[in-house]
């Protein structure tokens, strides 16, 4: 309904659609770029492009999947251009981080080589993610960070589920190797 209204140029309806998906789109782009400013620009541009292309949206997939596809393609194109000038601009960790049982366990267990704090761990994790290729990083972000199913990811990436699973496995292996010092 909102999509139909937005297609007719109703900006209030589109405003509602933006509010509905802004956090997820921003988060995906942010985790792919590890840079808040870039994520802000790319997320905004994705919504603008989606609005301009709304007339060509046939409804073959859900609006959500279609929007994600726009954001992901935009981000991957941007990352290809940015290849050699990586600049981290990480968001702060929220107040709940220190109370998360998984993270508390991870820090209290201390790695055999060194003690770590959350900020350092955050930086190392982002640096390791940036070493993955874009498709592998995207699968990890969508599955392990955003909690999407293999099926949803396959639709967004326009590939089959087997490809998603194999990419996820390979990406995790690489991350594990890169972060060996920080994993038990």
């Amino acid at each position: 309904m909102l999509v139909q209204q937005a297609r007719r140029g109703d900006l209030e309806a589109y405003d509602e659609l933006i509010r509905r998906y802004q956090e997820r789109i921003y988060a995906t782009v942010y985790h792919m770029t590890a840079n808040h400013e870039d994520a802000n620009d790319l997320a905004q541009e994705s919504f603008i492009k989606a609005y301009q292309a709304l007339k060509s949206f046939k409804g073959g997939s859900s609006f959500y999947t279609w929007l994600y596809r726009i954001a992901v393609n935009k981000t991957i194109n941007f990352l290809k251009q940015r290849k050699n000038r990586i600049h981290l601009s990480l968001n702060d960790l929220d107040f709940n981080t220190e109370h998360n049982p998984d993270l508390v366990a991870l820090i209290s267990e201390k790695t055999p080589h060194r003690e770590v704090n959350l900020a350092e761990l955050q930086e190392k994790l982002n640096a390791a993610l940036l070493k993955l290729s874009e498709p592998h990083r995207l699968v990890v972000v969508l599955h392990d960070v955003q909690g999407m199913s293999h099926d949803e990811i396959a639709k967004i990436m326009e590939c089959n589920i087997g490809t998603v699973r194999s990419r996820l496995f390979y990406a995790r292996q690489q991350l594990q190797a890169l972060l060996a010092d920080y994993l038990k």
């Binding site: 509010r19 802004q22 921003y26 301009q52 702060d92 998984d102 594990q176």
Partner: protein, 164 residues
């Protein structure tokens, strides 16, 4: 696959950290507003480019219209100036005693066009045989050139008209 999941358990716990990376507080309050502003701005640019496409050679007019659209104060000032110009035009047109003034003040010797002769002009001009007049009847006399020769201004030509 479950075995693989178990192998990556510590990695999965570490990835949870990413979920706690959040943008500055209040960031999403303005997000949709910014997107909509950019969409509206883009639509304005599109309509302006359409105008430029239609009136390609008159891009100055398109720019002026764009400026008027962007600044209402400028638009009202421009409208006021146009009104003043229109009023001035009406008042000027209705004044009966308004006669065109000569561009140059002529002295008594040159007021009559009939009396216009090369000698009445400035010496250098007359010597060069340069005259300027709307009178078709000129006293065509030979003038002296800078080299002491008499240069006739016009030579009589006789045409024979053939009989058909």
């Amino acid at each position: 696959m479950n075995e693989n999941e178990d192998n990556f358990e510590s990695l999965r716990r570490l990835m949870v950290l990413k979920q706690h990376e959040t943008p500055p507080p209040g960031y999403f309050n303005n997000f949709s507003g910014q997107v909509l502003r950019r969409i509206r701005a883009g639509e304005n640019v599109e309509s302006a480019t359409l105008l430029e496409r239609l009136f390609g050679p008159l891009s100055g007019i398109a720019k002026l219209l764009k400026a008027l659209d962007a600044k209402p104060v400028f638009a009202s000032g421009f409208a006021g100036a146009l009104c003043l110009l229109l009023l001035f035009g009406i008042v000027s047109a209705e004044r009966p005693d308004l006669t065109p003034q000569p561009m140059l003040q002529a002295d008594a010797t040159t007021t009559s066009l009939a009396a216009l002769s090369p000698t009445a002009l400035s010496p250098s001009a007359s010597q060069m045989g340069i005259v300027s007049s709307t009178n078709p009847v000129l006293n065509l006399q030979a003038v002296a050139s800078n080299f002491g020769q008499q240069i006739p201004l016009a030579q009589p030509v006789s045409f024979k008209i053939p009989n058909f």
